[in-house]
């Protein structure tokens, strides 16, 4: 096998991240205004408020999405809010169910009474429009096959107008559909929990007020975990991410030093 420079660079990244994880540093993360805003909103809702959680992501982004989603679900369950889960991407369906189940079990919340998972519905635009009129029509049964009318925590939910807000947990553009189609008839409050790569995409919506609050990436997860006073995957992931960031910065600096040296050498000869 031909060993090239990039292979050494790969090895360096592996060693760097591995070492930091083994040492197990716990760096403190200052909380940004965006994360504080999300926390403050969920915290300020009266206990028993209904929130809809939409799992709009695929399995590939799970390492980033999971700590974010868990931190938020834990906060919502700890405040006694009722959660209604849905999924607009098939891959996120079972992941969403497992995450809700896990967070609910930690706080002793009961399925059907404190939370429910409605599952996957294809064609998100049509689904959101239908839910704006009747959630029952879009999801006649929940994920486990129970009839909508038999589920206790859905008795007060007829349409999207009956939920306090929608939390879209996304790794793509699905949150945009919640704003475009959910907000016009119902003035729905949209909150976003997104991967770091999607943060800049949603920044204009946050600045214009179309989106109420947003938490993004492992950094957001670590900040939220700090706010709810509970360590989790965000803090651990942040450690690996920070190590990788520093390594990338070092590589950029090394690459530029080599480039400028070579350029000076070429100019001199």
């Amino acid at each position: 096998m031909n060993v090239e420079t990039r292979h050494y660079a790969f090895l360096g990244l592996f060693v760097c991240v591995g070492l930091v994880m083994v040492i197990g540093l716990r760096p403190g993360v200052p909380v940004t205004a965006d994360t504080q805003r999300m926390f403050a909103y969920i915290d300020s809702l009266p206990g028993g408020s209904t929130l809809m959680v939409s799992f709009d992501h695929e399995a590939s982004s799970l390492p980033e999405i999971q700590p974010l989603a868990l931190a938020l679900l834990r906060h919502a369950f700890s405040k006694g809010h009722k959660l209604v889960g849905v999924a607009f991407l098939a891959e996120g369906t079972v992941i969403g169910y497992r995450l809700m189940q896990k967070a609910a079990a930690e706080y002793g919340r009961k399925y059907g009474q404190d939370y429910v998972y409605l599952g996957f519905r294809p064609q998100h635009v049509a689904a959101i429009l239908t839910m704006a009129e009747s959630v029952r029509e879009a999801f006649p049964q929940d994920y486990l096959g129970h009839d909508y009318n038999e589920i206790e925590c859905l008795r007060t939910v007829d349409s999207l107008g009956d939920v306090a807000a929608v939390i879209s947990i996304a790794d793509g553009s699905t949150t945009t559909y919640w704003m475009e189609y959910g907000q016009s008839p119902e003035r729905l409050l949209v909150l976003a929990v997104v991967t770091a790569a999607m943060v800049t995409t949603y920044d204009p919506y946050l600045a214009s007020g179309q989106m109420h609050a947003m938490v993004g990436g492992l950094r957001g997860a670590a900040e939220y975990e700090r706010l709810i006073n509970r360590s989790g995957g965000g803090e651990r992931g942040m450690l690996a991410q920070s190590a990788a960031h520093f390594y990338v910065i070092a590589m950029i600096v090394v690459g530029n030093v080599v480039y400028f040296k070579a350029r000076r050498k070429r100019a001199a000869s």
Binding site: V29, P30, T32, E58, A59, E91, P122, P204, Q241
Partner: protein, 206 residues
Amino acid sequence: MGRTFAVGICFVFGVLMFVQYFSPHPAARTVHRTVSEYWQIIFAFGLLIGVVAVLRSNLRQLRWGSDRPYRLVTLCGLAAMPILALVWGRGIDSPFMWMFENVQAPMQSTVFALLAFFVVSASVRGFRARSVPAAILLVSALLILLSRSALGSAVLPQLSDTAEWIRNTPSMSARRAILIGIGLGSLTTSLRVILGIEQTWLGRRS
């Protein structure tokens, strides 16, 4: 004749969907929902065509002997998931879900994680301050990277403010410009398709 018919259908549905978007009438919503449901059915058929294409292509390559082990894995995966779903269903504790949670999800996350290695490779070889704009981009990227790491913002609290300014001012301006550009581009392309000026979606004329 066939092309004219297709362009006609495209025109009718294009105008219908455009008009219904601006109408608050419940009938407009019903139209949108019905059309979306038909779109879903068409999408399912499209998916089926995709599956057949993957199957045919891999079977052909398997016969010719190129990348045989990989082709076999693809075909086994393609056959296994529908069989598991058809025989044991797609319930939460079914073998189908077990495969998804324990095979597909970790594999997809692994492939996604490989991106970090490509970023490292690109940062060593390609991220150079060759010109003033490239240098500005480089410095901005370094500041954002540092601010997103735990140690960077803890050591230098002003770093977060600088990174926020980059995110909220130049980056957001560029993002808004891109969004408006995409919007205008989509609008003109849609109009060209609806009015039948743009016909490349129908394929070549025979």
